[in-house]
C-alpha cells in the first residue's frame, strides 16, 4: 500500500514538474512569437492607419480604413499592379524555364554515362560558388552591349533579366534533381527500352510523372527566390513601368519614406501575401527542399 502511494506521489510530482516545464516553454514561445510577428503586425497596422505617416502610427490605429490601399492602387506615379504583374510574369517564366532546363539536364546526368560527367557535375558546383552578385558589373556591361545589337534583350527589358536568371539554371538544383532521379530504379527504363522506347519517351512518359514532388518543390523555391530577387532587377531595369515589385517598393521607400509609410506598408503587405501563403501551405515540402540545399533563384 505505502509503496503504491509513494509511486503515485512521485508520478504526481513528475506530472506537476512536467506541466510547469511546459508552461515555461509556452511562455518562452509566446515571447519569441511576439518578436517574430511584431514587425508583420506593425506592417498590417500601418497599412490601415489613415494618416499614413510613420510618426502617427499606433499598433491599433484609430479610424482604421482603407485609405492607403486606395492611394496605392490608384497612384499613377507608382503603378503597383504593373509591378506586381511584372514580378509574377518574370518569376513564373523563370521558374518554369529553369525547371525545364534543370530537369532535362539532370536526366542526362542521372541516366547516361559519358566522359567528363563527374567533372561537369563538380564544375557546376564550383561555378555556383561564385555569387552571381559578384559578376554584377560584367553582367550589366554585357547586357548593355547585347542591347546595342538586339534591343529586345538589352537593358530595361524583362527578357534580359529572365535570361540572366536562367544562367543559374544549371546550378545546385541539378544535384538535387539528379539525386532524386537516382533513387528511381533503372529497371523501369530498361524494360521500356527493351520494348523500343526512345530516351525521350522514357524521360517524358515514365520518369517525369514520378518526379512530381521534387518538381513542385524546386519550382516553388525558384519562384519565391526570383520573386524576392532585387539586385539584378535593380541594375538591369531602368523605367518605372518595367520594375519588378521589389525594385518598385525599394524605390518607393527611397523618397519621402516617412510620409509614405502607410502606402508603402499596404504595398509591402499585398506583395508579401502570396509568398507567405505559399510558404505556410507548403511549409513541409519547401523546408525539406531547402534543408537539402536547394537554392532560391
Amino acid at each position: 500500500m505505502s509503496s503504491l502511494s509513494s509511486v503515485r506521489q512521485a508520478q504526481n510530482s513528475a506530472r506537476l514538474r512536467r506541466n510547469f516545464d511546459i508552461a515555461i516553454r509556452l511562455l518562452i514561445a509566446a515571447i519569441l512569437i511576439a518578436f517574430s510577428i511584431f514587425p508583420v503586425l506593425w506592417m498590417i497596422s500601418a497599412s490601415f492607419n489613415p494618416t499614413g505617416s510613420l510618426a502617427t502610427q499606433t499598433l491599433i490605429p484609430p479610424n482604421a480604413g482603407l485609405d492607403n490601399y486606395q492611394k496605392l492602387l490608384t497612384s499613377r506615379e507608382f503603378p503597383f499592379w504593373t509591378w506586381m504583374w511584372n514580378s509574377i510574369k518574370i518569376s513564373s517564366l523563370t521558374s518554369v524555364l529553369s525547371l525545364t532546363i534543370t530537369t532535362i539536364a539532370a536526366y542526362a546526368f542521372s541516366r547516361f554515362r559519358f566522359r567528363g560527367r563527374i567533372t561537369m557535375l563538380k564544375g557546376i558546383m564550383l561555378i555556383n560558388v561564385f555569387p552571381a552578385l559578384l559578376a554584377l558589373v560584367a553582367t550589366f556591361l554585357m547586357i548593355s552591349q547585347l542591347g546595342d545589337v538586339l534591343p529586345a534583350f538589352g537593358l530595361n527589358t524583362h527578357a534580359s533579366l529572365i535570361l540572366v536568371y536562367l544562367g543559374g539554371a544549371m546550378g545546385i538544383n541539378i544535384w538535387l534533381m539528379k539525386g532524386y532521379m537516382d533513387t528511381i530504379p533503372r529497371d523501369i527504363d530498361e524494360s521500356a527500352m527493351i520494348e523500343g522506347a526512345s530516351d525521350w519517351q522514357i524521360f517524358s512518359r515514365l520518369i517525369l510523372p514520378l518526379l512530381r514532388p521534387i518538381l513542385i518543390v524546386i519550382a516553388i523555391i525558384n519562384y519565391i527566390g526570383t520573386y524576392g530577387e532585387f539586385v539584378l532587377a535593380r541594375v538591369l531595369l531602368k523605367s518605372t513601368d518595367q520594375y519588378t515589385l521589389m525594385v518598385g517598393l525599394q524605390i518607393f521607400a527611397g523618397a519621402q519614406f516617412q510620409q509614405r509609410w502607410g502606402v508603402f506598408a499596404a504595398g509591402a503587405l499585398l506583395g508579401a501575401l502570396p509568398i507567405m501563403i505559399i510558404y505556410l501551405l507548403l511549409q513541409d515540402q519547401i523546408i525539406g527542399g531547402l534543408t537539402q540545399g536547394a537554392v532560391k533563384g
Binding site: 542526362a108 556591361l141 509568398i275
Partner: protein
C-alpha cells in the same frame, strides 16, 4: 551501392530526317550568330563577340558529334551558363587587370577614332564665308566665298568647283554674290544653318583637302590635328609636332598633357596592389573587410544559437501546439527579405520609428541606429537575426529528429546531466549534420548585399574615405558603390579586383567545406 557499368544508352539514336533537321537547325543558328557576332565586333565588343563565337562552335560540336549525345540534353542550360555565368566571371577577371572606369570608358580604337576627328587650321589654310544648302534627301552643299570675293561650290566627297551662274546648277547670284538657288537644293536661312547639328560634322570637298564649318561665320580648310603612329603607339600633333605616347590608357605628352578621351588599358596588378597597399584606401578598406568578417561571423553565431535553442526547446514530439508555434515562428522567413528589411528600417527610425518612440517614452533614451557606427552594426545584426533564425530553427529541428534516442538512453544510464547530454551528444552530432549548411550560410552572409544596402546603404559614412565607404559597408556593397553609385569616380577595374578577392575568400571557405563534408566522395559513390 553497386555500380551499373553498362554504357547507357546502348546506342545513340540516329535517323536521316533527324540528321537533316539538326543540320537545318545548325545552318539557321550559324547564320544568325555570324550576323550577331559581326555586329558585336564592329561595335568594338570583342570579348563578347568572341564568347558568342566560341559558344556557337561548342553547340555545333555537341549537335554533330555522336559521342556528345548526352550533352544535347543540356545544351540550352550549358549555353546560358557559359553566357551568363562563366563569361561574366572571365570578363570580371579581365577587367580587374585594366583601368576600366571614369576617364577610361571606351576601347583604344574608339578613342583613336575620336581623337582623329579633331582638326586644326594650318597657317597656310584658306578660310571662307559660307552659305548652306540642303536637298530634299538631306544632302548638303556649301557656297564658299574667299577674302577676294570668289565663290566656290563645295559638296562632300567632290572636288571644289568655281562655277559661274548657270554652271553646275548654280542659279542667279544675289547682291552678296551668293546663289539664290542651286539645282536640287534649298538654300538655308542663317538661323536654320546655325542650328543644324549635322552641318558642322560634314567634311566638304575631296579627301585630303577637306573644308569644314568652324563657326557661323567661317568655314576653313582643316587638317587632322593628330596622326596616329601605330608603330610607337602614339599620337603626333601636326600643329606643334609634340607626340603623345600611350601611357596606361591615355595619350600623354612629355610635359604631362593628356588627350581626351582616355581608353581601357591593361595595368597589370595595379588594382590589386591598390587594394593591399594604397595608403589612402587602406584605412577604409581595412574597416570594411574587418566588419565583413565580423558581420558574417556574428550573424552566424547569433542566428544559429537562437535557432538551435528554439529547436531544442520544442523538440518533444508531443509538445502542445507544436505545429502552430512553428508556423508562427517561421513567419519572418516567409516575407520577402527586401520588405522586412525596409519595415525594420521604418521601425528603427530615430525620431518616428516605433522602437525609438517606445524607448524614448520608457527610458528617455533610444539608440541612434543610423548615425552611430556601433549601433548601426548592432541594428544590422538584430535585423539579420530576425530574418534568418527561422531557417536555423528548421534545419536544427530536422537534424535533431535524426539523432537516435539510444544515445540519450545510454547517457542517462551513465548519469549524464542535461547539459552534458547537449554538450557531448546533441551538439557534435548536430554540427556534423548541419555543418555544410552553416558554412553556406556564412558565405551567404559574407555577401549579404541586400541587407546592408537596403537597411542603411552601408552608413554612417567613414569620414575622409577617398571613395564612398560606410561603417557598415561590406566588400560587396563597397564594390557596388564603386561601380554604380556614379557620384564619385566610377571604377570598374578596381571594383572587379575586389570582386576577385571576394571570390578567393568565398572559394577558400567553400573548398574547406567540401573537404570536411566529403561531398566529393558522396558524388563519386553515386556514380
Amino acid at each position: 551501392m553497386t555500380v551499373l557499368e553498362t554504357p547507357y544508352p546502348t546506342k545513340v539514336p540516329s535517323s536521316m530526317p533527324g540528321l537533316l533537321a539538326r543540320l537545318a537547325f545548325l545552318a539557321v543558328l550559324d547564320v544568325a550568330v555570324a550576323w550577331f557576332s559581326y555586329r558585336l565586333i564592329s561595335l568594338g565588343y570583342f570579348p563578347f563577340g568572341a564568347a558568342v563565337l566560341i559558344i556557337t562552335v561548342g553547340i555545333n560540336l555537341i549537335i554533330l558529334i555522336k559521342k556528345a549525345y548526352p550533352l544535347r540534353w543540356m545544351v540550352v542550360g550549358l549555353v546560358l551558363m557559359v553566357l551568363f555565368t562563366i563569361y561574366p566571371i572571365v570578363f570580371t577577371i579581365w577587367v580587374s587587370f585594366t583601368n576600366y572606369g571614369e576617364g577610361h570608358l571606351v576601347t583604344q580604337e574608339q578613342a583613336i577614332a575620336q581623337i582623329l576627328k579633331m582638326k586644326y587650321l594650318p597657317e597656310t589654310g584658306q578660310s571662307y564665308k559660307w552659305t548652306a544648302y540642303r536637298s530634299a534627301e538631306g544632302e548638303y552643299a556649301l557656297w564658299l566665298q574667299d577674302a577676294a570675293g570668289n565663290g566656290y561650290l563645295a559638296k562632300p566627297g567632290e572636288p571644289l568647283l568655281q562655277p559661274g551662274p548657270g554652271e553646275a546648277g548654280v542659279g542667279e547670284l544675289d547682291e552678296k554674290g551668293i546663289p539664290k538657288t542651286i539645282e536640287g537644293y534649298q538654300r538655308l536661312s542663317v538661323l536654320l544653318a546655325a542650328t543644324d547639328k549635322n552641318l558642322t560634322e560634314i567634311l566638304f570637298g575631296e579627301a585630303g583637302k577637306t573644308i569644314q564649318i568652324r563657326s557661323p561665320g567661317e568655314a576653313a580648310e582643316l587638317l587632322p590635328l593628330y596622326v596616329y603612329d601605330s608603330e610607337r603607339d602614339a599620337m603626333v600633333n601636326q600643329e606643334t609636332g609634340v607626340s603623345y605616347r600611350n601611357l596606361r590608357g591615355k595619350f600623354t605628352a612629355p610635359n604631362g598633357d593628356t588627350l581626351q578621351p582616355g581608353f581601357i588599358a591593361p595595368i597589370g596588378f595595379s588594382n590589386f596592389r591598390d587594394f593591399f597597399l594604397s595608403p589612402a584606401l587602406r584605412g577604409p578598406l581595412l574597416r570594411v573587410t574587418a566588419w565583413n568578417f565580423g558581420f558574417a561571423f556574428f550573424s552566424l553565431l547569433l542566428n544559429f544559437s537562437l535557432g538551435l535553442a528554439i529547436a531544442v526547446l520544442f523538440n518533444e514530439p508531443r509538445f502542445p501546439f507544436k505545429k502552430v508555434i512553428r508556423s508562427l515562428l517561421i513567419i519572418p522567413y516567409t516575407v520577402p527579405a527586401l520588405i522586412t528589411i525596409l519595415i525594420w528600417r521604418g521601425m528603427m527610425n530615430p525620431q518616428l520609428g516605433v522602437i525609438n518612440r517606445a524607448m524614448n517614452t520608457w527610458f528617455g533614451w533610444s539608440p541612434p541606429w543610423f548615425t552611430d557606427e556601433w549601433w548601426a552594426k548592432i541594428a544590422i545584426l538584430l535585423v539579420n537575426l530576425w530574418l534568418s533564425y527561422p531557417y536555423f530553427m528548421l534545419i536544427c529541428s530536422g537534424a535533431l529528429q535524426s539523432i537516435s534516442e539510444d544515445y540519450y538512453a545510454a547517457a542517462q544510464v551513465d548519469g549524464a546531466s542535461g547539459w552534458q547530454q547537449f554538450r557531448y551528444i546533441t551538439l557534435p552530432l548536430l554540427l556534423v549534420a548541419v555543418g555544410p549548411l552553416l558554412v553556406a550560410s556564412f558565405t551567404f552572409n559574407f555577401n549579404n548585399f541586400n541587407l546592408i544596402y537596403l537597411f542603411n546603404a552601408g552608413g554612417p559614412p567613414i569620414a575622409g574615405a577617398p571613395t564612398p565607404a560606410g561603417h557598415t559597408d561590406i566588400l560587396i556593397s563597397y564594390v557596388y558603390n564603386l561601380a554604380f553609385s556614379g557620384s564619385r569616380g566610377i571604377n570598374y577595374g578596381f571594383a572587379s579586383a575586389i570582386t576577385i578577392i571576394i571570390f578567393f575568400i568565398v572559394g577558400a571557405i567553400t573548398l574547406f567545406q567540401f573537404r570536411y563534408t566529403r561531398m566529393w566522395e558522396e558524388v563519386s559513390e553515386n556514380v
